[in-house]
Symmetry: C2
Subunit: 267 residues, 2 copies
């Protein structure tokens, strides 16, 4: 455990097995409220894993369209204990509740009407990157990815995400939410000027239309999931020129969209 102490809590439970009932201590993923204060106004409280809080706040702002780059940040302070991140931005986009309302609804397994929902797709530009990856490289990246999440191994209750090139993991994050794990990646990339446009995103979670849109906004040409996409996830990936690889198990994988970026063999 050790370095995970903040992210987990031990709680006494009873376990029933064929052999009877016994009491034991089990390890649970901690769900922690993080309040984001933007230019002195409370923006939102996210329930998250208490790690990389600054990255999460910055990535959340980016994904919600309230921040474009590191240059936009005047000041950031992270209070790990109280669970508060304060951000001051150069340009106050002056979020109104009305603007935020729409965004939050969209980002919460919800959207603002079917018509507007489709318009959001159309607004995104097609990704033209000529980047390629071999099936063997995908297998190798995923294998390392799956062995890396100590928190998942301990609790069975978190998602992870990784930004990679075709050979190496560049950023790795974990969170109880699949959206927040990806936002943490974006926050780190923004704060540390890590480019994402010729990179691969790996996620442990299902790929819904919202996850696809998030990745499209960062111009990432290849997304890989251990799990499966929804039909809209595939349709949007296809339309936006994003390569979508799912259900990776060893050498086995499904290429659901833009398979031309995936080469056979050792590439």
């Amino acid at each position: 455990m050790g370095k995970m102490d903040r992210e987990v809590e031990k709680i006494s439970i009873s376990q029933f097995t064929e052999e009877g009932r016994r009491n034991l201590e089990d390890v649970f993923a901690r769900e922690f409220p993080l309040t984001i204060i933007l230019n002195d106004r409370e923006l939102a409280t996210l329930l998250c894993s208490p790690k990389d809080l600054g990255y999460l706040a910055v990535g959340f702002l980016y994904s919600e369209g309230l921040l474009e780059s590191k240059d936009g940040i005047k000041k950031i302070s992270v209070d790990d204990k109280r669970g508060v991140v304060r951000l001051e931005t150069i340009e106050d986009k002056g979020f109104t509740r009305d603007i935020l309302f729409k965004r939050v609804v969209i980002s919460s397994a919800s959207g603002k009407g079917a018509s507007l929902y489709n318009a959001a797709d159309a607004a995104s530009q097609k990704i033209e990157s000529r980047m390629k990856i071999s099936a063997d490289e995908v297998s190798a990246l995923v294998e390392r990815f799956q062995h890396r999440s100590q928190l998942y191994l301990a609790t069975g209750c978190v998602h992870s995400a990784a930004l990679c090139d075709t050979k190496n993991t560049l950023v790795f994050t974990e969170d109880i939410g699949r959206h927040s794990a990806i936002d943490k990646i974006f926050g780190k990339c923004l704060l540390e000027n890590i480019p994402t446009d010729e990179r691969v995103m790996i996620t442990s979670g299902r790929i819904s239309s919202e996850i696809l849109r998030k990745v499209a906004r960062k111009r990432i040409p290849i997304i890989i999931s251990i799990a499966v996409p929804t039909n809209l996830g595939v349709r949007i990936a296809d339309k936006l020129g994003i390569t979508l690889i799912s259900s990776v198990r060893g050498k086995r994988m499904n290429i659901c969209a833009n398979g031309w970026r995936v080469t056979t063999g050792g590439g």
Copy 2:
């Protein structure tokens, strides 16, 4: 497939295996935008599985605190094709964007400040039901639950939920979202006057604090998950008098809170 036609879409993909690349048709869970219009105002658009749309709309309103009972509904019309549910209520709770803003933020893996977040817990009354269930009954209910989801078996991409007594499944629902699967149960219970207060809820998803709160609002004394809870899920169940059973695999299960309702053996 047949009766699931609306809930899935077949899309051509490439599959890589040790034997090489082949093209095939795979089945994906459909992600469908459902717009809820409450008293002529557009409330939200949920991305959901296109089934039980009326139940979902009613359950969503209930979970968001905008509807208390069937008697509160003046009129409901479901347009399955366009994905619109129109609801008229007797008492227009006159949701303002501001009120809704808070609710939506809370319901989207987010909350409205740590202090307010805790206050929400304190507001819920402890569940006093003396209902009991035996470990064997839990195993039997879960086994049936796991064999029931045709949509999961076809797509690997949906959650399911069930309302049961100690022996029988009373309501069973599926959705791409774990929150929406539960809201569909609540919607059906509300519309068909099915009581929930001496019942068991089974979910395929992780039990976060938000899921726990949802179930507490419906006064359900026992919640069972195939997956695991977060630490807050356990803490809140403990405080509200809810029995939380997780990680059920055959005869094996973890009793994380209020284990006094679970008896050993055949009960």
